[in-house]
Symmetry: D2
Subunit: 337 residues, 4 copies
């Protein structure tokens, strides 16, 4: 942490800053220039977080040099995390595809989709039972009934299952049925939900918020991990920009950036990122090539009848074609699928 | 709603689109050009929301012409909403200032701040008991204890009180103590929380999400209103952009845009928008001039000791000075303060 | 400037960094923590700009603490700059309004608009002779013919005149006719044009780029000033965000931010920022209240026939009404109009 | 084009809109709903661009359904454009790499880099002789001297050469020396320069502006093409967002979006997009996988001594390694390299 003093600071206020730093058991290193005086502060960052050095008299501003997240930080755990979901590995040299409908609509729709997912090579079935929708008049999900259909689909196909929760109440219900809990973009900073998810004993997939920086995202993961649950998967799903030809802008660079900052596994969701069926195949190939650990893909037995997000869903044939196209890319990066 | 057909659509698929529209009891109007064929759809938008016409074969895309929110829409209630909080009016010709600390820290800190708020002319005391913080290692709020201090401060000063809730659990607790419930930027699309807030009988102030469009914001208000609680106040607090010299970018135009779209009252929060104490006074004047219904301002008896967001808090003298500077602007726009 | 070393840097590489710094006649101050080692560098920033310390072995990154612009910097000239355009002052306690059509279309249109501008209290007539248009098939401006009409309008009304230039060729022509040269948002980083504008002896109004940070904007101003022309006016005209209900997002905070960083005068353009006629009056009031030095407003005798940007133009009556509404606000901030 | 009428439009104004449309030889199709009345307009868009139907009385707004660019539009030329630069093909089944230093610094530096570029498999040498730099105090380029070194490097290696021009003056000089003219992000809407580039008989590579939408970018290409030069190459180099861990955000989706809208070839520049050496290899692979036609990569014999952008430059060994890693990906997508 670096403290930048104001240009015409008083000696007294300067001493005061030093006293505050040293009073906390930290060390201050000075750097005086003609126009700028800096104080480098050395010590445990978490203690400092509860103080506000930038409010001390004659302090101009404070620059954070190191990260505030610790458990998610690669500096403190250099080996990549591989999460074992009952035999299905996320991370390491496995490439995992999570596929399924945006929303669970009926027993038959889900089972049909699950079979298509399995046939295409997916290892995990996604399906929304609690849907976060912009308008209250849109379809909101089947809730617990949907979870039951998911459990039946797992029974029938052997696929692991993942579902999004949008509240503590939904989390409580979902944890009884599914293998992985998903926290969506709109809830990335629903800190109470994150803490609850930190207290369960199932992996959590955390999607990036619509305008979250990578550092905020890793701090959100830290919320889950600091409660005891270190099985966190990160999912890049596009950020909001001024560009309108795609629903969001897939930040493909997030994958190598995350690789350099964290040991957690990384999934890419090209369906939500682009919102356009025709772009899913090229973006999936890009995700494989950039070394993501897996993909989340929307499929639907009959996209033109889907109750939500059909425009970006693939039908079973298209999904099959997609994974066939992806296989040589996955081999090339040295992963198993 | 306008449906744009693909360039080389088949007659059959075109007929199918028409049949779907008419099957729902809606009317289709055609417009065929050399390169583009459009179908204007007339009827109740909410029924259409559950269908996905853009997935019909040979449909290129669908353009929404009118809004999906109804209760929040000025078209359906042209008169401005004035919310009466036990005698304090929000909206109409009253100008209201909500002031207080970012976080409630202690009984004394809050009481001292409440007195300063009252002395400066504020009618409502703000204070955070449940704090949404980026890092789990930052101070998280006093929770119910903080709510009690707030109720005591109301007792002592006569100010009405507002607090942010970050979960259904917090909402349940807060509704027993405070006069207005606040839902913060990070929870603007925490739809479960919005629905719960729609079932209480106290006003709700809904802050704009960090990257929410105005339409999404009004749809979030619609979530609250559609559950029965029509006393919603909107609060602009800055959006996320690439500019880094302010914490967020205050979208001052949101005020006239909202005026043209909704009847709900509008508050501006220059403290969170800018993150810099020195910018609060000019931005507050701008908010008055642009015809906002009020301001939310952070104050602290001793900002350099504040446990959160001190850099943007005013001390009692500065708050007093601010309201003194604002009074002639408030008079000029024809409001009472 | 602060140099952050990589976590496991070698002694040798560390020494090398110190040698490079000292070899340039600068001073290095060390700050070693458990996880992070920093080097504060003290000396003339401009010399450093030509070196790349972040490329030295084992350097993690470099943090810029102070600004790279000097002539535009308030630290080096604390008194506000007032520009005298042949008797019309921009800055100081004068409030200036520049009004006129987006594009000069004909002699009569311009003269009629100039009379309306004058009647409403404008002191400067704007008018575009060279139009930067997104599509090559849109109207591109009357070029030199338009400049002549502007000069005639000045003759007839006594208003000073400003026009945008989009190339060195246009600059050469315009400087012969107009009182102020405008460089538009799309050319804010057309550095060759900036340098040319730095060699003329007329004031230059520099609009902010669509996604320029305030620091980049001030560096662009520095390009003009470093060539000898210190009469630069800054014009905020909205930045690009994800919000679509206004054409751009007026960054009203830019005014106080600029006040804290530079001595140059600041104009606000609510017409281009919002793109919607109905929002111009509230945004103009906000600009006055936030202490801008003036406004640029689009007017047109007959906006529904304007060849460009008519949707945001005011007709003469509306402009008259606008300035009447603004007068009490301008008085309140202690300015003359 | 669709015209949306205001809610309470008058019959007279409605008739007027119809008259205007039909007066231009276009056809109007009506669609009247309970709350909204639409008019579909059919006919030549370019004629309409010079009119402003949204300014007609009682018109609420106008929605553009089709694109304003024509020569760049895939609808009007479905076959992909392949540009032949003296034997080197850009587009089709060739994969092209343009490599070289950000700035030409000396004869020896350039020649050494050219040899490295060639050794690694690049077919085109990039090098900046005119540098657009944020600060006027940064190194600005060797100008014509740099162009001469480039021509010498071509002589020595057989590589084709590309350089950026930042003004009409620079274009005039560069066209005498280089094989491809580059127009950079900051000049994407320098329309005068685009028009000049449309009058030369060499290919032009047009980089996307920092906050340009894809439609604006294609309109900028249209500026060049409408002057007669149809050999335009598009280069995605990242857009500006709130994310700070990369210099810009590479919009990888731009590649499939462009493929669906235009026939022009597409290059990706991961060096400028990310600004970080370590991210260039994964992003290059993503670009190959997403089916870009080529890459632009910064290399430097000694990046730690580069006068500009060294932090993102690869040294000769790293470049060699990069292309070795890319070869199997390039083969996999069925291209030659």
């Amino acid at each position: 942490m670096i403290i930048v003093m104001k240009q015409n600071y008083s000696k007294e206020n300067f001493k005061n800053v030093i006293n505050v730093i040293e009073g906390l058991g930290l060390t201050a290193h000075l750097s005086k220039g003609e126009h700028t005086t800096l104080i480098g502060v050395v010590g445990d960052k978490r203690a400092l977080l509860k103080e506000n050095p930038e409010l001390l008299p004659d302090v101009d501003r404070v620059i954070q040099v190191s990260e505030t997240y610790k458990l998610a930080n690669k500096k403190f755990k250099t080996e990549p995390t591989v999460i074992d979901v009952d035999g299905v590995k996320i991370g390491g040299d496995n490439f995992v595809i999570m596929a399924g409908p945006c929303a669970v609509e009926s027993h038959d729709q889900l089972l049909e989709t699950a079979n298509a997912a399995k046939a295409g090579g997916a290892q995990i079935l996604r399906g929304g039972a609690y849907k976060p929708r912009t308008s209250p008049y849109s379809f909101q999900g089947l809730e617990e009934e949907g979870l039951k259909y998911m459990a039946e689909a797992r029974e029938a196909t052997g696929l692991k299952i993942i579902t999004e929760v949008t509240s503590e109440h939904a989390l409580e219900a979902a944890v009884k049925y599914v293998d992985i809990i998903q926290i969506g973009a709109r809830n990335m900073q629903n800190f109470e939900l994150l803490k609850e998810a930190g207290r369960i004993n199932k992996p959590v997939m955390l999607k990036r918020g619509l305008s979250a920086t990578i550092d905020e995202w890793l701090n959100a993961a830290e919320y889950i991990m600091s409660e005891g649950n270190e099985d966190v998967i990160l999912c890049e799903r596009g950020i909001r920009t001024f560009e309108t030809s795609t629903r969001n802008t897939l930040d493909i660079s997030a994958v190598p950036v995350l690789r350099s900052k964290t040991h957690l596994p990384i999934i890419v969701d090209p369906s939500h990122a682009s919102g356009v069926r025709a772009y899913i195949s090229p973006l999936s190939k890009a995700a494989v090539a950039v070394d993501a650990d897996g993909l989340m893909i929307e499929i639907h037995p009959c996209p033109e009848k889907a109750l939500s997000d059909g425009a970006q869903s693939l039908n079973p044939e298209a999904f099959n074609e997609l994974t066939a196209e992806l296989r040589p890319f996955i081999s090339l990066v040295g992963r198993k699928f």
